[in-house]
Symmetry: C2
Subunit: 202 residues, 2 copies
């Protein structure tokens, strides 16, 4: 039986990515899996596939705003729709990759939770690198180091590669989960994942 | 307590609309509701909002095809992806409206189940009006009458109006359900509907 980690692609500016982040570890644990956190940037992906940002689509946009708030309520997830939305998350994504490279995946996941919560429940502007550094400090990382790490060419390159790889693998939204090569798009696929895992005998 | 029917907007060419059709009556019954079946046409709606058909979107299209088949399997719904897809459903939608007007909602719902099943499990071309008439015959309607009814100017006008009204109400996809003015888009919102109904004490 394969027990490779659940690959969890997300953009820090994605409400459904945030909702998924609050439950992904519990979901993985149900099936004895780890989570591989993979921050990506929806901007370049949407431009590549010719899709406008969700909230700009006629009819669908207003519905989405309503669905964000309602989904949070139905699943008991703290949520205050950000005043500026969507925003650039390249700094936060680079920070996460640097933390993973230098302090391990667990620390990076701890940081990711802080970032998501700050943006979607704390009304903080995570497109601001000083805010990102302060969130890193909250998980024990010296802000100077993190700010420097975010700007390393190797980290910038790693994020670019992660976005490219994601597109190659078919990732077009957030959250996008891959379990043993099986793709699932959306927080609303958590139930499908459970059914799928049961059907194949985990 | 309000007990107005669940308004169920769908296109006969929509796989997720089909999946919803197999469970909508059970869902409504859980909450002591009826279902108001409202066939619409996604073509004019997509053109209005500037959205391409789902399966034509890069990355998302191939994923959707996979998700149709998987969702059917996970929810134990018979499904054979139609050889021609999507197709024009204006005839089937008009036929349903005519049946509702002349033989009542229950007969129309019975017909709708036949149409969906013929297209998504029976490899029948429901864009063909003779196929539509034969399906009507299967629920006891003389095919000549139905073919004539589908062509009545009042029925054509009624469908046009239903599509216009749907857009006015914010409908942009299929299935799209409205319960006491609260909109839910997608088969994957059935679970959200249950949570929402419970949260408000039905």
């Amino acid at each position: 039986m394969d027990h490779s980690p659940i690959e969890f692609y997300f953009d820090f500016s994605s409400p459904y990515g945030y909702f998924a982040s609050t439950q992904i570890e519990a979901l993985a644990a149900e099936f004895g899996r780890q989570v591989s956190w993979r921050p990506i940037l929806l901007g370049p992906i949407f431009r590549r596939v010719g899709a406008p940002p969700l909230v700009e689509v006629p009819l669908k946009g207003p519905y989405a705003l309503r669905d964000f708030a309602r989904t949070a309520r139905l699943f008991d997830i703290p949520y205050i729709h950000p005043a500026r939305f969507p925003i650039a998350t390249v700094g936060a994504a680079r920070a996460m990759l640097w933390i993973a490279a230098h302090h391990g995946q667990d620390k990076a996941a701890e940081f990711a939770h802080k970032v998501f919560h700050a943006f979607f429940a704390g009304q903080q502007d995570i497109s601001n690198t000083d805010v990102v550094a302060a969130l890193g400090e909250g998980v024990g990382l010296p802000p100077g180091e993190l700010l420097q790490g975010m700007n390393e060419p190797a980290i910038k390159e790693a994020l670019k590669k992660q976005v490219e790889d994601a597109i190659t693998r078919g990732v077009f939204g957030s959250p996008y989960l891959i379990i043993d090569d099986e793709p699932f798009w959306g927080f609303d696929r958590f139930d499908h994942i459970r059914r799928w895992m049961r059907l194949r005998g985990r």
